[in-house]
């Protein structure tokens, strides 16, 4: 994983961790799987579990970037995409363990898309020729 990709993954991972920490702190006094969770920035609902999930996956993504492990990064992206789907189809439903609405789905999808795209796209070889 080259420098720019590593920086991109680190940036997305740090943002995921920061949002997770904020969500976890906000939801710390509430039930872990509260539906809907508390509102971050007045529009993005997230509960304690959702915050801890975002922190955990963000940390794993940082490890993946440091170790240039694209497979691990792909798993992080898949986790965020799966969480996004749960938040979208589970708006106000009890099985939505993240406590979010469509806003959290969009933010998790943002993280997941970034990780998946970077993990799945081969790097260019020196000289500009890319492997298919």
């Amino acid at each position: 994983m080259n420098g720019p990709r590593r920086r991109a993954v680190t940036t997305i991972g740090v943002i995921a961790i920061l949002i997770g920490v904020a969500g976890a702190l906000m939801g710390a006094a509430s039930p872990m799987f509260e539906v809907p969770g508390r509102s971050l920035f007045r529009f993005m609902a997230i509960n304690l579990f959702g915050g801890l999930f975002s922190v955990a996956v963000g940390v794993v993504a940082l490890v993946a970037a440091r170790r240039a492990n694209r497979t691990l990064l792909l798993w992080c992206g898949a986790a965020f995409v799966a969480a996004a789907l749960v938040n979208l189809v589970g708006i106000d439903r009890s099985f939505n363990v993240f406590g979010g609405h469509a806003s959290l789905a969009s933010v998790f999808l943002c993280f997941g898309t970034g990780f998946v795209a970077i993990a799945l796209t081969p790097e260019l070889e020196a000289g500009g020729a890319g492997d298919a």
Partner: protein, 173 residues
């Protein structure tokens, strides 16, 4: 008059650091706009249906009013889920700068659809929708995802790949 000099000084600063930072900022703000405004779309979508009904009570374009009255409102639940999912994706992709040109084009079309419904509604400021459309056009025209976005990071690989999805992403970015 030195025509070459005039042309050189009149060229757009599309690739300078200020321009790149500026367009990334616009792209991220528009992404956040979609993320924030998808939050209130919650089943059973009563508020969403209320605003969609403005296309009938405050008509803007008669064919659009016809479509809303005869197609959208009678099938509102699947329509609402579809629009919510679409706006989730638009917000996510603009935020991270993925397939940005295509996403901004879709956002512009969605802006027109929203405007055709609500622009003449009570307490609406119609310039908001004009600016929303113009912003998406600017993001699309400048390929803003190439500045501090996934498109900029991966486009070279996509364009040199023979994989069909990669080639589509190369064009969409």
């Amino acid at each position: 008059m030195n025509v070459e000099l005039v042309r050189r000084e009149a060229r757009l600063e599309a690739d300078g650091s200020i321009a790149r930072g500026g367009m990334a900022f616009v792209r991220i703000v528009f992404g956040l706009m979609w993320v924030a405004n998808v939050a209130w779309k919650r089943p059973p979508f009563e508020a969403f249906e209320h605003f969609t009904g403005f296309a009938i009570s405050y008509p803007v374009f008669a064919p659009w009013t016809f479509v809303v009255e005869n197609v959208v409102l009678p099938n509102f639940t699947p329509f609402a889920w579809g629009v919510t999912a679409l706006e989730v994706v638009i917000g996510a992709f603009l935020l991270v700068g993925f397939a940005t040109r295509l996403t901004a084009a879709v956002g512009a079309v969605q802006t027109v659809a929203i405007g055709l419904s609500v622009i003449r509604g009570p307490n609406e400021w119609d310039w908001a929708y004009h600016m929303m459309f113009a912003g998406h056009v600017a993001i699309m025209a400048t390929a803003a995802g190439r500045a501090f976005g996934v498109d900029g990071l991966l486009r070279a690989s996509w364009l040199r790949s023979s994989h069909p999805i990669a080639r589509i992403l190369g064009r969409a970015s």
